[in-house]
Amino acid sequence: MKKVFVFCIGGTGIRVMKSITMLMAGGMDTNGYMVVPIILDPHLDLEEKKNLHSLIDSYKTVYKNSVNNGSSTLNHLDGFFNSEIRTISELNNTTNDTQQVAGSSEKFSQYINLSNIGANDINNHLVSTLFSTKNLNNPLSVGFKGNPNMGTVVLGDMIEGADWFKSFKQHCEQGDRVFIISSIFGGTGASGYPLLEKKIKLAQNEPAVKSALMGAVTVLPYYGLKDPATTGSDIDSANFYTKTKAALAYYQGTVKSDYLYYIGEKRLMQVYENDEQKQDDKANFIELVAASALFDFLKREKPDKQQFLTRAIEDDKESMDLVSLGNGYRDIIKSVADFMLLRTLVTTLPSESYFPLKKTYGFNESFYSKDEAFQSLVRFSETYFKWYTELANNKRAFAPLHYDNPRQMEGFVKGIGLDASDDSYYLLKMIQASNNKTIKKEHSNKFRFFLQFAHEAINYYTSKLNK
């Protein structure tokens, strides 16, 4: 199976990967590529990072259960969870967390062995020119605090000696692709992307790596942070654009990705708490659009020359829906709408007394309460709902759905009327799907049936979004 190694660098990388995962869960097509996310972030205890790992684990659980047929593996489903996500350690058949930064609890000065040179060594002046005392005293456990100059040094070393990078080079085969997600205005992402790209391009001994079609999404400024003067943070979003401009200028002629996706906002519409350690920033529309770049990339062939991609929205609104987003976003909206409808089913069915599949397919209380895969789906759905809620309430808001009333669902997707006026339509369609005898003969995977029937039911009504 073809693989796409998705390098998620820094906080933005993590959040975009979250969106990728969500879109994949909702049925976005990876064009047959297995997604191998590699998260690059020196933060040891970043909640977002942990959450992403957890989310991916849930995804993988759902996916695995959807293709599991006892001793055999089924083809992936159409629709929900239709693509595999596999970690690099899984490719290695190891359980080591290869994404952990070695020695990351050290101070930066220790990390670079500053004490190895004497007090009067002229190289002290070089170090003092490149790094502030604060940089040098900075423990890597909290990341690079928006200092790509440090990030470059540390990540460079991390990449150079890391098991995951060796594994990546080992497992990257002809036809595999590389996709790098980073922000340009922060520390880790800004430093990681060109560095990683450079390392990949320099992989002389691994021609598959060196020649892998490479895409990258560079997330431009899209959110702000509260005034650092009030928080004591070293990060000032006031210079995000400045840094972006400087970085883009630096990128010119430096970065070599075949496809370089730009995504960002012209003004910082949302302002988050300025807390580097927490970084519990709400999901953002831009991250969602950035995530869509991966799917676009996976559909494209190797270009003759480097391509730079941008996308637009139809109308500059604070809250985006189908109309304001424009037709280009229908696949995203459909993916989100589909999963949100799945979530509706996941949450309503356990309490549905007269649902005939309870008996015919065993979608009973035991299934809902004890099936590991369904439980994973429930958890995933909860995360998804939270994620969507964040998107829908952020600035700019991604809110194409009216999701909060299962009794009035014609307008579930704003701007387009669905034929299902309430959830019973979807249940009915699930029942109809279950009558497909061919499907019934393919496998005996109760959870896979659930997802198949749900997708058929939902797609029945939402497929008009594809038109």
């Binding site: 670079i112 062995n113 190895n116 040179i117 002229i122 190289n123 002046h125 070089l126 170090v127 020119t129 490149l130 502030s132 005392t133 604060k134 928006g146 200092n147 790509p148 100059n149 990030g151 470059t152 540390v154 460079g156 070393d157 520390g187 800004a190 990681g192 060109p194 560095l195 450079k198 431009l220 003067a229 000032d236 006031a238 210079n239 654009y241 400045t242 840094k243 400087a246 970085a247 990128y251 010119q252 996706y261 730009y262 995504i263 960002g264 906002e265 012209k266 659009v289 770049a293 676009d296 391509q307 730079f308 991609l309 941008t310 996308r311 637009a312 929205i313 139809e314 109308d315 280009g328």
Partner: protein, 1049 residues
């Protein structure tokens, strides 16, 4: 519908799918991005490269350019970028002004060093020591920096190194991130705090105010010099590397800045690294200002003089608002090198007088620099050092004050300095506390003239010589002299106590190049010296030597006073304690023909203990003041220099005369080296004295006037007057004429026949014999009768002369000749002439009779006919008309009587007693045909029966000679009696006067005296082979005259 690209710029893409384009976001796109300002330096986290700092700096300049060009004030760069730009500009400015800082503000060993970091060897080193960092640097150095070397600017203060910057191929320099600043609130006020605590105590005074690396100063706020250096020199060329684009664009965005000028010129010099190489960053040669810093030209104090500076003679400060009647002036409070900024010896400066202080302004290159001076300075103001309250005064005089148009002729200048502590208490200021320095333009650059030894230097200044020191309870100041050899000067810097200094610029008179040539004749007599001048090519009567303008420039202003002569105005306007000093130790400011005129007494004033090594002005000078003023106790007056065996005094005397003549020539635009000089040799010069004179008159004119020997003529003192008298048609019958030139020390005779000098003779018997003490060799003997007669009774009507007389009498080394000459010189203020005429006429008659008798015998024995005309010349001859008789008719009778008696025939001799007595020698010298044969000198010992050429001849025949002379003395005595009788008859001598005592005295034996004095004056002094040019005839007569002076007491 408002379509929108989800991008930081709108590229106008179609549709809402991902749209691919071949071109990424370019700088052109990015320029449209409106950025917010950032005030947080800590947030300048930059780019994915370890060299991010270099690119942040570039970004800072880009932002600063945007801010500067943004007329709507919408594009603020913010504090963080502004401070970064300011800091980097500070690095450039610090290096630009490094000379200023090193010379002016860094007094405690502060210094900077540019330490080279060689890429190759250091990366190799880091590979082993810091491999993590090395790997990163290795990845990026080539693409981001790509320089063989970087340079670290390290500032050392109190032994501690502080990194200020690193060179950058992008912005010239980058400062370390620890130098980034943040503004924090502290106790309610804003405080700037550096990111690195090591920089919080860094306070380097910026030349243009404030502190480097501390307060923000954007380009427009900086000094004009620095701006123009950056704009025109560093980034004015199209050849500047493209990698400097942002910095260059920032600097070039100030093209309309008021201080930027295309024609701005700054002298620059390369900055050196610790490897002694020029600091070149990415082909950009970093330089420092090599101009002497304008502000550094200001002295820390300004000297306020208690008098006004002569604006005719010196360039000094201008005032914007001073009282026109002010009684003070300031010296220019600058280092003389300030003149290098200006063309043509002009300094554009003025002083503004404020209520309690002053402000000095200096305008240069269209900019005005200023410094405040106060009596009680604070806040960086300089001190006004006021001489008046400090009871200090000084003045200076420059001699000569005129320059030849030929620079090589400007080879001698003497600067007189007078300084006094006017406090009645013990002096704590002395002449030692004043020092002068001299500067001269070489091309357009002014530089100091160093003190050097003339034997090993082309030109220079001799070490200052103190002539006088102010003494406790004394009334006069101290003095010192500076001498410049082979160089003129353009600036005098005055320093007091080595702490306070200022300068003035002499305004030189300048001679014009013409074809005017002058001939000068110098008659250096025993008692008097005379100089005359004529213009070569004109047949006019010679001129009295007087000058057109002063030859000395004094610092003080000369008030105009129509009632006083110029020389008096000059001398009277100097401060009191220097009034006598400028007269007694320096050359007169002007030989005006009145207060100072020739003839002068042949007298030299000098420090007592320096008579062995006299040096002009340093310790000796011509005593122009002689008989008018007394010198100080530590000074002697030498009045016998003509006959002194040591040539040093004479040399000094002649040197000063020649320097005065040089001034005169230049004032008259004469051609110095085509000047003719005539000097006169006395016939009685003998041996070494003769050689000494020849040497002096060869070397001194050569040194001072650049005269070759062919421009120097020497005639006999004796013959010279004849040519003048002849020219003046005083000699009607020139068949045979005699000129008798009676000087102080000698009397010369020349016999002319048909306008040609036939013979000349000189005797050491001048009028001084009348005032001296015979042949007594002790100088302090005061037995002369004339002196004794009046020493206690003489009274002067003119103020000061009585005191001066007392001084003369009380000074041990003043001889009777000196004192009597003093009386005679001031005869207008006393009765000396009347008294001498009344009391000592027989003595004068005896003196004259001796001369005439000797001359007549000489002519006769040399077989010349008696002259048809006898002309008297020489200053000494004035005793004839002053004390004997001015009636030429009577005088003719005397002369006829003498010649009749000696020749035994009747004679009718025309007597000429011209008014130009002393002058005639000089005048005659000027008109004598230089090609004419020298007059044959004949020696006459009173007898020609034997040839007495040498001393040996006389020794051998002394008895015979004595016999002849004794006989002649008897004849003389008889003649003397007859002349006395004649004069009684002519009522020249009162009939009642008892002249018999003189007759009797004249009759007394002369033989013993002749033997005695011959032995002591000739025989014991000279070897046999010496040619004796003098005449032994007068030896006893000298003594007899002395004896006669004592007959009427």
């Amino acid at each position: 519908m408002a379509r929108l690209d989800l991008n930081i710029v709108d590229r106008g893409i179609q549709g809402t799918h991902w749209v691919a384009e071949d071109v990424g976001l370019t700088a052109e796109h990015l320029d449209k991005v409106l950025e917010m300002k950032t005030d947080n330096s800590g947030a300048l986290n930059s780019l994915p490269t370890p060299f991010a700092r270099f690119f942040v700096a570039r970004e800072a300049f880009r932002r600063a350019t945007e801010e500067h060009l943004d007329t709507r004030n919408e594009r603020e760069a913010g504090f963080a970028y502004r401070q970064l730009v300011s800091d980097i500009l500070d690095v450039f400015e610090l290096l630009f002004n490094i000379k200023y800082h090193t010379n002016n503000t860094w007094k405690n060993g502060e210094q900077i060093e540019l330490r080279e970091w060689k890429c190759k060897e250091n990366l190799e080193y880091l590979k082993k020591q810091m491999p993590v960092l090395y790997n990163s640097l290795d990845n990026y150095y080539t693409t981001d920096i790509n320089q063989d070397s970087l340079y670290f600017l390290v500032y050392t203060e109190e032994g501690k190194d502080i990194l200020l910057a690193c060179s950058s191929p992008i912005t010239g320099f980058v400062t370390p991130p620890d130098l980034d600043k943040a503004i924090v609130k502290k106790n309610g006020s804003n405080e700037t705090v550096c990111s690195g605590s090591q920089y919080n105590s860094l306070y380097i005074h910026r030349k243009s105010g404030g502190f480097y690396f501390r307060d923000i100063k954007m380009f427009e706020e900086r000094d004009q010099d620095f701006k123009n250096y950056m704009f025109n020199e560093l980034f004015g060329s199209d050849n500047v590397s493209e990698s400097f684009r942002e910095l260059k664009e920032y600097i070039r965005s100030f093209k309309n800045d008021k201080d930027i000028r295309n024609d701005y010129k700054i002298k620059l010099t390369p900055i050196k690294t610790d490897q002694n190489t020029d600091l070149i960053i990415n082909q950009l040669a970093i330089q420092s200002c090599d101009e002497i810093d304008i502000n550094s030209f200001f002295n820390n104090s300004i000297i306020k003089l208690p008098y006004r500076i002569s604006r005719d003679r010196f360039k000094a400060v201008n005032y914007k608002n001073a009282d026109a009647k002010r009684d003070y002036d300031f010296l220019l409070p600058f280092k003389p090198e300030v003149l290098n900024l200006f063309d043509g010896n002009e300094i554009d400066s003025y002083i503004n007088i404020n209520r309690n202080d002053i402000t000095v302004f200096l305008r240069y290159n269209g900019k005005e620099y200023k410094k405040d001076y106060s009596k009680t300075p604070s806040n960086g103001a300089g001190k006004i050092y006021e001489l008046a309250p400090a009871n200090i005064n000084f003045d200076l005089g420059i001699f000569p004050n005129i320059l030849s148009h030929r620079d090589e002729e400007n080879n001698y200048f003497k600067i007189f300095v007078a300084g006094a502590d006017e406090d009645p208490e013990a002096p704590n200021f002395s002449i030692d506390n004043i020092s002068l320095s001299f500067y001269k333009y070489k091309g357009t650059d002014i530089s100091i003239i160093r003190e050097l030894d003339p034997s090993s230097a082309e030109f220079g200044v001799l070490p200052a010589v103190v002539r006088s020191k102010q003494v406790k309870n004394g009334v006069e100041c101290g003095t010192k002299f500076y001498e410049l050899f082979n160089s003129s000067f353009d600036v005098i810097e005055v320093s007091l106590y080595g702490q306070h200094s200022g300068f003035v610029m002499p305004i030189w008179e300048r001679s014009q190049e013409t074809n005017e040539q002058f001939r000068y004749a110098i008659d250096l007599g025993t008692s008097n010296t005379f100089i005359s001048r004529c213009k070569i090519g004109e047949n006019n009567k010679p001129e009295l030597f007087n000058m057109q303008r002063p030859m000395v420039s004094y610092l003080h202003e000369i008030p105009e006073d129509a009632q006083l002569s110029l020389s008096k105005c000059i001398e009277d306007s100097i401060f009191d304690r220097a009034k006598n000093k400028i007269k007694t130790e320096f050359v007169p400011a002007i030989i005006d023909g009145n207060d100072y005129k020739f003839p002068i007494r042949t007298a030299l004033c000098g420090i007592k203990n320096k008579s062995n090594a006299p040096k002009l002005f340093d310790n000796h000078n011509i005593a122009f003041f002689y008989e008018k003023l007394m010198s100080n106790d530590d000074q002697n007056i030498h009045t016998d220099i003509k006959w002194d065996k040591n040539d040093a005094m004479l040399r000094v005397f002649i040197r000063e005369l020649l320097l005065i003549i040089k001034c005169d020539i230049l004032q008259r635009n004469g051609d110095l080296d085509r000047t003719s000089l005539v000097w006169f040799k006395p016939l009685s010069f003998m041996g070494n004295t003769r050689a000494m004179y020849l040497d002096i008159w060869e070397k001194e004119p050569k040194n001072i006037l650049s005269l070759n020997q062919d421009r120097i003529e020497c005639f006999s003192e004796s013959e010279a007057p004849y040519y003048y008298f002849k020219k003046m048609d005083y000699i009607k019958d020139s068949d045979a004429a005699a000129v008798i030139d009676i000087g102080g020390g000698s009397t010369d005779f020349v016999y002319f026949q048909d306008n040609r000098p036939i013979m000349a003779n000189s005797i050491h018997f001048g009028c001084d014999v009348l005032w001296e003490n015979g042949l007594i060799e002790f100088e302090n003997v005061r037995n002369n009768g004339i002196f004794r007669k009046y020493e206690k009774t003489i009274r002067f009507t003119k103020n000061g002369l009585q005191d001066l007389n007392d001084c003369f009498i009380n000074v041990d080394n003043a001889t009777t000749k000196d004192i009597i000459n003093f009386w005679l010189s001031n005869s207008d203020s006393c009765d000396i002439k009347k008294n001498l005429s009344a009391d000592f006429k027989p003595v004068f008659i005896y003196h004259l009779t001796s001369i005439l008798f000797y001359m007549a015998n000489m002519f006769k024995e040399n077989e010349y006919t008696a002259p048809r005309t006898v002309v008297f010349s020489g200053n000494g001859s004035k005793y004839i008309d002053s004390f004997i008789c001015s009636d030429k008719r009577i005088l003719k009778k005397i002369i006829d009587m003498v010649f009749n008696r000696v020749f035994g025939t009747e004679n009718n001799i025309h007597v000429v007693l011209p008014s130009e007595r002393k002058e005639s020698t000089c005048y005659g010298g000027l008109y004598r045909d230089p090609n004419a044969d020298d007059v044959p000198e004949k020696v006459y010992q009173g007898d020609n029966s034997i040839n007495y050429d040498t001393v040996g001849d006389i020794n051998k025949n002394f008895d015979a000679l004595k016999s002849k002379l004794v006989s002649k003395y008897n004849e003389l005595s008889a003649l003397y009696k007859d002349i006395l009788d004649l004069l009684k008859r002519e009522h020249i001598i009162d009939n009642t006067e008892n002249t018999s005592i003189y007759v009797e005295k004249s009759k007394e034996d002369m033989g013993v005296a002749l033997s005695t004095y011959y032995k002591s004056q000739v025989k014991e002094k000279y070897q046999d082979e010496v040619l004796l040019y003098d005449s032994v005839f007068f030896l006893p007569i000298i003594n007899r005259v002395f004896e006669m002076t004592n007959l009427n007491l």
